[in-house]
Symmetry: C2
Subunit: 689 residues, 2 copies
């Protein structure tokens, strides 16, 4: 995957100038200079400060124009009002990449926002790429380079890259990772993202050979579709796991449909991450727990886990944890059980979870692990043990590590305790074996490996776009628009009098349904504006009057255009299919149980438009409405293929008409297998431009 040329100086600079370097150790400008020198960066290092002087054995230039070659990256840490000038001098000096650590820009209000615009003007004039402002900086433990101003020590070298919208989280993660015994390959704090954003950095960070997994702390993304596009390419080689925060901020907007009320920013992010093949972590700890497993374990082929333990209690906890995450306890073959019986005492439990008993020796741990790994019904293994009473936990760790290293299946370890297990933990960390204190977290790591395998398929799937030509259509003609996309709509005529209603009914054939026609009335049946199954002309005539009267008394202000007449459709399963435009990711699809109780039942699933086959299938299978299409007890199977086809078409329509803010078919009536499905009622909310 190609790397944007202009970003190369950030990740492999020939020389770095620290603008705002200080020889006062209490200043951040000293910290930055010191980190850069201590990091063992092999390129040239230069310092600039208007006061001049000397720092760490080098001169401090008073102006960046004086700095000698080579220099292609500036790390700027001076008060906000002076940054624009410094940047201009960088441009004049030919430096086209700058990391602006200084705060005091957009994040502090209108005045700061003006300063930020000013630096962007200079950057644009001199074609300078910017990271920040208001960021902690960037570091690479292998190049190595450290342009942060954080107090040492920096992270130990490792294989997890961390890209973050929050600088404070970066600082905490460096410290926490060190304590947790794993290293970072690269760390990138993006600050206000005046220029470079999270999406820009995916490809360059993934290109690092030392990076095996990318962990992202996101407060949002800047360009949803571009994020998906870039991430999809990256995850092919390297997993991405992301924590998206800011859920509590997601405000409610005025909506005109069930889909609009239920689809939100968070469902859009989940759908987008799935489309991109990005794992979504729920908590910070989970993100790094799972990142370690993703970095260090071979891929898994399935959900069948073997559990090895030296006590009953931990085995039970492990089995519970696996089951609650949708994993399965592997069923061992007869050979596996026989082999285990050959090395374990008679009282040991040979069924999964394997309880090797408290007396289990390090050799029995290692040999039992070898045996269960060899079983073709086992996809991965969890070993869970408190300190054995007769051996040290460290001796168990040392015995199992070579077996884990030679395995082609993932093995994770839960070592229970804290002080007595330190040696074991250190061996496992040094050997890059994911280790946790509790079964629940080890199980979550295995589940992440399974999800990674599934997400790879999602990222590789291509959207289904059944419609060849997508002519622009007048959106006022709802039925015509849907029909142009090949979505069958129940024929409906607008009657402006009861005579007209009767005439239409006669022409269509009885029985018919009547529905009030009024743009101001969102939910027709709520006001008694729908009458079904009218079997004769008299019923149509009185129905017409009745609907008008009910609608007027419920909505005296609403403009009522008349009453729609529609031929009654044979009964079928009522589902809802809708789309709303998400500001980040474009059209988002919803499918589920239809009717008036959509928001109460919440039997719904979301996906990003246009839909892939995989995603559409998932939407059906994760809802009761979708599962029911296959038939249930006395409910006959319905035309599931027709529903899939209509979902693809509606998704394409929504993707190609971003001005349609909400489109909803409710009900979409699904007829028996082979007979298709029909949009009975359709609502569209278009942008007023």
């Amino acid at each position: 995957m190609p790397i944007e040329h202009s970003l190369i100086p950030f990740f492999n600079p020939q020389g770095v100038v620290v603008i705002g370097a200080s020889n006062d150790p209490s200043k951040l400008g000293y910290g930055l200079a010191n980190n850069l020198v201590r990091s063992n960066y092999q390129g040239a290092v230069h310092f600039v400060n208007i006061k001049g002087g000397e720092l760490l054995g080098q001169p401090i230039y008073t102006n960046v124009l004086e700095v000698p070659n080579p220099v292609d990256l500036a790390a700027v840490l001076i008060p906000a009002p002076y940054v624009a000038d410094a940047l201009r001098q960088c441009g004049q000096r030919g430096i086209q990449a700058a990391i602006i650590g200084s705060g005091g820009f957009r994040e502090v209000g209108a005045e700061g926002a003006e300063l930020e615009e000013a630096i962007m003007e200079v950057a644009s004039q001199y074609h300078i790429r910017l990271i920040g402002p208001n960021c902690i900086g960037l570091l690479d433990t292998h190049l190595p380079i450290d342009t942060t101003f954080l107090p040492p020590p920096g992270p130990t070298p490792g294989d997890v890259a961390f890209i973050s919208h929050s600088g404070a989280i970066c600082a905490a993660v460096i410290d926490w990772a060190r304590g947790q015994g794993y290293g970072l390959s690269r760390l990138l704090s993006l600050g206000n993202q005046a220029d470079v954003n999270e999406t820009d950095t995916l490809a360059p960070v993934a290109a690092d050979p030392y990076t095996r997994v990318l962990a992202l702390y996101l407060e949002g993304v800047n360009d949803g579709r571009r994020f998906i596009d870039q991430a999809r390419q990256v995850v092919h080689d390297k997993p991405i796991i992301a924590l998206k925060v800011g859920r509590f901020k997601s405000g409610q907007r005025a909506v005109a449909s069930h889909t609009g009320a239920l689809a939100g920013q968070e469902s859009a992010y989940s759908a987008a991450f799935r489309r991109a093949g990005v794992l979504r972590a729920e908590t910070s700890e989970e993100m790094f727990d799972q990142a370690r497993a993703l970095a260090w374990c071979p891929p898994t082929r399935g959900r069948r886990v073997a559990v090895l333990t030296n006590a009953g209690g931990p085995g039970v906890t492990a089995a519970d944890a696996l089951e609650s995450l949708g994993l399965e306890l592997a069923e061992f073959s007869g050979e596996t059980r026989a082999a285990l019986a050959g090395i374990l005492p008679p009282a040991a439990s040979l069924h999964n979870p394997v309880d090797m008993l408290a007396s289990a020796t390090p050799d029995q741990f290692a040999e039992s692990l070898r045996i269960v790994l060899a079983d073709s019904g086992v996809d991965s293994v969890m070993i869970i043990f408190p300190t054995p009473p007769l051996f040290t936990a460290g001796s168990v760790a040392k015995a199992i590590i070579p077996v884990i290293h030679s395995a082609e299946k993932p093995v994770v370890v839960a070592v229970m305790g804290e002080r007595l297990i330190q040696e074991a933990v250190e061996h496992l960390r040094a050997a890059h074996v994911p280790e946790y204190r509790f079964a629940e977290r080890a199980a979550a790591a295995l589940a992440a490996l399974v999800e990674r395998a599934e997400l790879l398929e999602y990222a590789q799937a291509e959207p289904v776009m059944p419609v060849q030509s997508s002519e622009a259509l007048k959106t006022s003609e709802i039925s015509a628009l849907l029909e142009a996309y090949g979505i069958p709509v129940a024929k409906m005529e607008l009657a402006k009098s009861s005579d007209e209603a009767v005439a239409f009914a006669r022409q269509m054939g009885l029985p018919v349904a009547l529905k009030v026609a009024s743009p101001g009335i969102s939910h027709k049946s709520d006001v008694g504006g729908v009458l079904l199954n009218l079997g004769d002309e008299a019923a149509v005539r009185t129905g017409y009057a009745e609907i008008l009267q009910r609608a007027q008394s419920a909505h005296p202000q609403a403009e009522i255009q008349g009453v729609y007449v529609q031929r009654m459709i044979p009964s079928g399963q009522e589902v809802i299919a809708g789309a709303v435009q998400d500001p980040q990711f474009g059209a988002q699809m919803m499918f589920g149980s239809g009717g008036t109780e959509v928001e109460g039942l919440k039997d719904i699933a979301f996906g990003l438009a246009p839909l892939t086959k995989l995603e559409a299938e998932r939407m059906l299978e994760s809802t009761w409405a979708g599962r029911k299409l296959k038939g249930f007890r006395n409910l006959p199977a319905a035309d599931r293929d027709a529903v899939l086809d209509i979902l693809f078409r509606l998704a394409q329509l929504a993707a190609e008409h971003p001005s349609l803010e909400e489109i909803e078919i409710n009900p979409l009536l699904v007829l028996p297998v082979g007979q298709g499905a029909v949009a009975v009622d359709v609502r569209i909310q278009a942008k007023h431009e």
Copy 2:
């Protein structure tokens, strides 16, 4: 709460004899003797071993009969086959309490089970109470006493009591707690529970003045109703939090109703814990995270949390975590905002979460905390910070601790990082302030405090039993049974011919419904065995024939008794109300969306019979079916009070008839407000005895 007299020697023995004490340091019998002496236990300590000798400066008696006074507790750690004899000698010596650490009993199979029965016979003969066998033992860090054989060090003294069905988990928890910086008051490993079980120990452990919270690791409970009864009394003074494991084992049994298919062991445990006021933890870490907050924090009055931080990112994470747990960000008063403005820089965010900026001083942390605590709209506070760039985390901790100690509201702290925050962590632990590394876990601790407050109400609520006299009734007469409990049942007559069906229909008044009468056909509508709304006699006549024909072709083997004739009931909301007998906890109730799709929609809630008002309300409010009873859009409100009344009556019926394994009303038709509800179809599965 009174303590069973016979258990007192376990918790306050006058003298302890170690039977199986060994002077070989590689033996567990040495470990036990050594732990007992090292624990600084103030009573008499005696050793017994058939080999005799000397140990830790004391003689080893060869027989327990030789042991001098005082001695009222035996700790036994000799091979299983010798335990019965040793116990007999204890009885002869007048010792009536014994902790049997030895393994080799029921847990190893039939032979061991026989040995276990043998020791129980001796125990019964001499009125000896037993803990174990196959357990780690018991310790009390304040008395102090340590009768475990675990390798030292034991736990530091503290206020969390731990009662466990797994010995291995005990060992791990002692070690883990030490590393996590909290102490234990008492620890109790129950082993095989041949005599004393978890329920027996609740009151004596809670009576310990040093214990502020009880944490339970349960693989089940022995007598469900007694557990509820004991726990309800304990939680009044001291919170109980329990991890119930073994979910994956919960097998499926053959069931005859939707309720039977959906209600299970886990829903029964959840309902029982709620009834008892016991918090249910999902993971081991969660249990101890929350136990600390329960032990150390004052009670909370509500869900409104103030968040104080020195950076934007952590504030966002905290807000997300709180929201996802159903807590709320408090809205500050004008005075609070003004007071914060008075001490914080202009760029600080004064709205919740409060971002005091990276420059925040320890004094600003303390003063801001004081300000938000004083706001009457704030129920609790979370402080979250990575190490501030200009101060140590420790100095922040020292500044806030006095404010936290003087507060009457809970304050929890998330200090982010690991190495740089060690001093802060130590200060907070020493001060008994719950501290976590991540906002998500701190939020969960606050949520546990809210749940604790709610559960106290559940534990105090009393069941509603509307029925005065509950005569024993012949269960074959379903309608009579329900009517005796005041549950209205739609009148139904069994017709054995089409003539009879027509006669019944004429007598009841048309329209009627017809339903196949066959004990072998569980779900009548699945086989087309139900016809609704038959408006004339001809329809009844052909309907009768049609139903018989359909039922016979679907179930050629089923005995068909005829067709039930039922007067059609005006339409209403269809709900399901059912009960199943749980082997541990007795009758368990289910309520939710009725019809044929119960198991697909899964819009259901469970509760323990008989029901309290609080629990019945919760069952309605946690299902869409229940919320809908209040009316929704064009759906009119239904007779919610009638549903509550019927739930109470059905619960009383189920509680008073344990031989009825399943009772299910589906649908229970709920009519408009004031018009009641009617059981339209009822199924009962009785025990075959």
